[in-house]
Amino acid sequence: MDTLSALADGFAVALTWQNLGLALLGCFLGTVFGALPGLGPSNGVAILIPLAFTLGLPAAPALILLTSVYYGAMYGGRISSILLNIPGDEPALMTTLDGHPMAKQGMAGEALALSGIASFVGAFFATWGLVFLAPQLVKVALLFGPAEYFALFTLAFATLGGIASRNQAKAAFAAALGLGIATIGVDGQTGVPRFAFGEVHLYDGIDFLVAIVGLFALSEVFVFLEHRGTSKEATADSMKIGRVTPPMSMLNKTWGAMSRSTIFGFVAGVLPGAGASLGSFIAYTFEKRYSDRKGTFGKGDPRGIAAPEAGNNAAAGGALVPMLALGVPGSGTTAVLLAMLLALNITPGPLLFQSNPDVVWGLIAALFIGNIMLLAMNIPLVTMFVRVLLVPPKYLMPAVAMISFVGIYGISGSSFDLQVMIIFGVMGWVLRKLDVPLVPVILGVLLGDQMEKNLRRALTISDGDWTVLFASPLAIGLWAFAILGFVAPLVVGRYFRPKIADETKAEGADPD
């Protein structure tokens, strides 16, 4: 019952006017980011981090704001999936399959309402899962020494490459690139500069916020420039939605799909390297196999909306488990949230639960509150967000670019950092074209320092004996999972990957 009393303390943290206001703002902005095609959870959060940071928000309120954006984006993504057949973000891809056909049959309002409720169910139970699973994981993590941590980081990269990527070599390359970027600057342990080429600005290393905003937000602007004029624009005509309440019979028919999908989504979220896109994909595929007896899936079956929406919201909650408990994010957006914590000098991981319980439990309580706010925003007020879709991207994307610049400039006040950010933006665009995933790059930049520190600590303890990395059963287990996670997808084929994501939308889509 420790957990529940800790949660009660968390509610005491979250229920201040400031934090409630931030949660409300975050939910609103998140839904808008999710709804707009091209902006999704990870770049939405990425743009806001420098702002939250320069505004001097303490850890708990900043994290409440940003995770509310994260949850909100998971709700918002469905709106354009249903109305326009364009996923608002990558996890909402599966929602287009049944959501848009339903809208075409004149049931857009019902589809929006049902998907809102499914989102709520997924997120609500996943947050409970987080409450109970994270402290258990912390107990295991407290047994970890430096060698185990090194193995754990390798595991995160391996599964990220294995499960979530189309080409293992490209994922490995992306991770190495990120880790390489992290080694730039003065070596923390010996004080010698590395890869700085005598440039003073590089001695401090490359700020990961610069890398993240460049790779995620700026590269999106370049993608828009490239596809200018070819993308569909919203018209007021496609925005008619009718009544926004689901009939009871529809809820009765879909509650099974919602509960099954919540479980699948949560598990997919907890696995390192999987994230919400995989959650919604698995939920939809399973539901289709399980209950599509009359072949109605893909033609506007309500269960085909409930499943992926419950799945992706549950995965969003699940992905917070490894991020908070181990300090190893399982997806793009949680990686960005990790960056926020690191920027505030808070090291996530098991010690976070002991040294900053107010941050952890305040955050979890805020998620419960935010989720209720989101339900309220997304059912009665959904028409307001629908209007947002009418803002053409040509006015929006420049504003996104400018706000990215403002945020980074606010932190450092240096033009050099802005130029590095532009380099990252271009790099992000090229890597996307070449189908090299960006999430491992970010994860590498974020974790490189920790990974090297743990490796060197382990070897200092063993006095240079490399076998220490495989000395404990725990470490061997982690290595075994790492190898399995990387190799198994090669053997069992590409079952775990959204097939349609392969073809068209993947390059432009925002990672979750």
């Binding site: 702002l51 320069t54 505004l55 080409n167 070599a169 490209k170 490995a172 390359f173 991770a175 190495a176 880790l179 390489g180 080694t183 070596d187 342990q189 010996t190 004080g191 010698v192 590395r194 890869f195 700026l218 602007v221 370049f222 828009f224 420039l225 490239e226 200018r228 004029g229 053409p392 040509k394 006015y395 994307m397 420049p398 504003a399 670019a401 400018m402 706000i403 610049f405 403002v406 400039y409 606010g410 006040g413 033009s415 802005l418 130029q419 532009i422 933006g425 665009w429 074209k433 070449l434 189908d435 090299v436 990974m451 090297e452 490796l455 060197r456 070897l459 200092t460 006095d463 240079g464």
Partner: protein
């Protein structure tokens, strides 16, 4: 072909990176691993993956036509110009110009783009500087 070029670039990058790692000056106070080992491991991963890109390239991505590439290049130039103009001309003026340009290139009418640029710039200035108190670049006119 694109993947083979990527592979060649990655190969060069890996070689360069490992070479740079080996010339890191070690200090006399060092741990058993030292500052070189981790970068060399990373460099090896880069080399291995580059070999795979060359050996088995993916299908060719759809590269934009030359005009579009130039468009992106031009946008990059504008952004770099923007970063240099910030400390000189201040936030409001530089942002208005850069945003107007990007809006125009994304397909808005020229007049609409100028208006959008000014609105974007003033909007950010008011909400982030005046309301939230974020420090923005100050030009000769104080904004």
């Amino acid at each position: 072909m694109s993947d083979r070029i990527l592979g060649a670039c990655a190969f060069l990058l890996g070689v360069l990176y490992i070479w740079q790692a080996t010339v890191i000056e070690e200090s006399f106070l060092s741990d058993p691993v030292g500052p070189k080992a981790f970068p060399i491991i990373i460099g090896t991963v880069i080399l291995l993956s580059s070999a795979y890109f060359i050996w088995r390239p993916d299908t060719e991505p759809e590269w934009p036509a030359f005009g579009r590439l130039a468009e992106i290049g031009f946008a990059v130039a504008v952004m770099v110009g923007y970063t240099m103009a910030l400390p000189e001309a201040g936030f409001v003026v530089s942002t208005a110009i850069a945003a107007a340009f990007l809006t125009w290139r994304l397909g808005a009418h020229a007049v609409a783009a100028v208006v959008a640029g000014i609105v974007t710039s003033l909007g950010i200035y008011v909400s982030f500087h005046l309301v939230l108190g974020l420090s923005l670049a100050r030009g000769p006119w104080g904004f």
